[in-house]
Symmetry: C2
Subunit: 240 residues, 2 copies
């Protein structure tokens, strides 16, 4: 959306303030993903604790985005197009807040897993998966800030990769459980972590879809990757 205004309006300035909050939120959420995955792989209880504590700041930022966005609408009575920009910010911050919750949940499970048998290779695979998702999330936010529809489409396409990583892990954890019942509890937690990361990917995709909506006025529907991945959730392709 090439907003051709020669003088920045009061609306534009206010919107930038709200967008800056969302970018800040994005930074905190990305750090939470990285640290949660690292804490899991290195069994670092303190780092996991830290991730859990920091989630509060993310929640507060979301509340702030909602307040500011509502204030902006009430104060500036934006046009239809500008209004859409503001409503998108609200949706994006809601997605970021959910991703933050997932990172917190991973950190919590990481604390639990630190006292269970190690499942060889799981920590590394999950960290790889989470760094893929973190990059998606970063690009989704960038596509919003720069109104970059091509980048947004790219993010949507990458969600399939995350789903494949998830399916591979699902099968791997099943194998570990069948081989040795003592692995079952640990694998259940690892599996939930993989699922949480996959859901983070869904949220990054959903942010990218908001950008598409913003620039075209319509959500991509029929062939929406997110819809598919939600229903595919947890059911590897082989069973699909």
């Amino acid at each position: 959306m090439n907003r051709e205004r020669h003088i920045a309006s009061a609306f534009d300035r206010d919107l930038e303030t709200v967008q800056a909050l969302v970018v800040k939120m994005g930074g905190l959420v990305e750090a939470a993903i990285t640290d949660a995955a690292l804490a899991l792989e290195t069994r670092d209880d303190e780092l996991a604790e830290d991730v859990r504590r920091r989630d509060r700041s993310i929640d507060l930022l979301e509340a702030q985005v909602n307040e500011e966005a509502a204030r902006l609408i009430a104060l500036r009575s934006p046009t239809a197009t500008d209004l859409r920009l503001v409503l998108t910010v609200i949706k994006i911050s809601a997605s970021l807040e959910r991703v933050g919750d997932y990172a917190k949940n991973i950190a919590k499970r990481s604390n639990v897993l630190a006292h269970m048998p190690v499942i060889e290779g799981a920590g590394m695979a999950l960290r790889r998966m989470s760094s893929t998702v973190e990059k998606m999330l970063k690009d989704a936010l960038d596509s919003y800030v720069h109104r970059d529809a091509a980048l947004a489409s790219d993010v949507r396409a990458r969600d399939l990769e995350v789903d494949q990583m998830y399916n591979a892990l699902f099968r791997e954890f099943l194998t570990h459980m069948m081989e040795d019942p003592r692995n079952i509890t640990a694998c259940m937690h690892l599996h939930f972590i993989a699922k949480n990361i996959e859901r983070m990917g869904d949220h990054a995709t959903s942010i990218a879809e908001q950008v598409v909506y913003l620039m075209s006025g319509a959500l991509p529907d029929e062939s929406r990757p997110k819809r598919d991945s939600v229903s595919r959730a947890g059911i590897p392709d082989s069973e699909d």
Copy 2:
């Protein structure tokens, strides 16, 4: 919120139109929950298919709510209080859409589970859990429509019950898996279904919280049951 206007304004009429859409959405989502649980328990492939198909109508209604709400804001430039009512409708319909996705996912797993060994009692326990959640969702929507803060608080309190049901099922499925590795795959799916129902409960709670927000201007924070239940997710109390 006792809106003391002697003559219904254009805003009020428009808001009622949007609210009617949300109530309709609520009805479809409640039916999806009931039918998904029934299809699972009775291994009714056709009913499960039907639930999956019907999710499309729920998605379309959400898009319609978003459109109408945006149109309403642009057209009527509502005051701060009225604006909050509209933003709440958007958030509530987003929650309903997610619950619909979970029901669809349950239906999909139900199709898969129909070809696996029966886990005694699981279908009934899951149906009980889902009917508790369905009631919560119904009451959460009623609390919105009637601006009933007491009912909203009641819904929030009931989320703990759902969490307890989930924790009990988590332990039960673990036991089945340890007893016989041939149960592992089925139990993984059943476990995800239990988790999906628990998440539906989180969304009902989140709708109730929107009502609290609507009537007080502040989300209940520190002791928010939803926050807790997200982090508690999947980790039974004994491990907590």
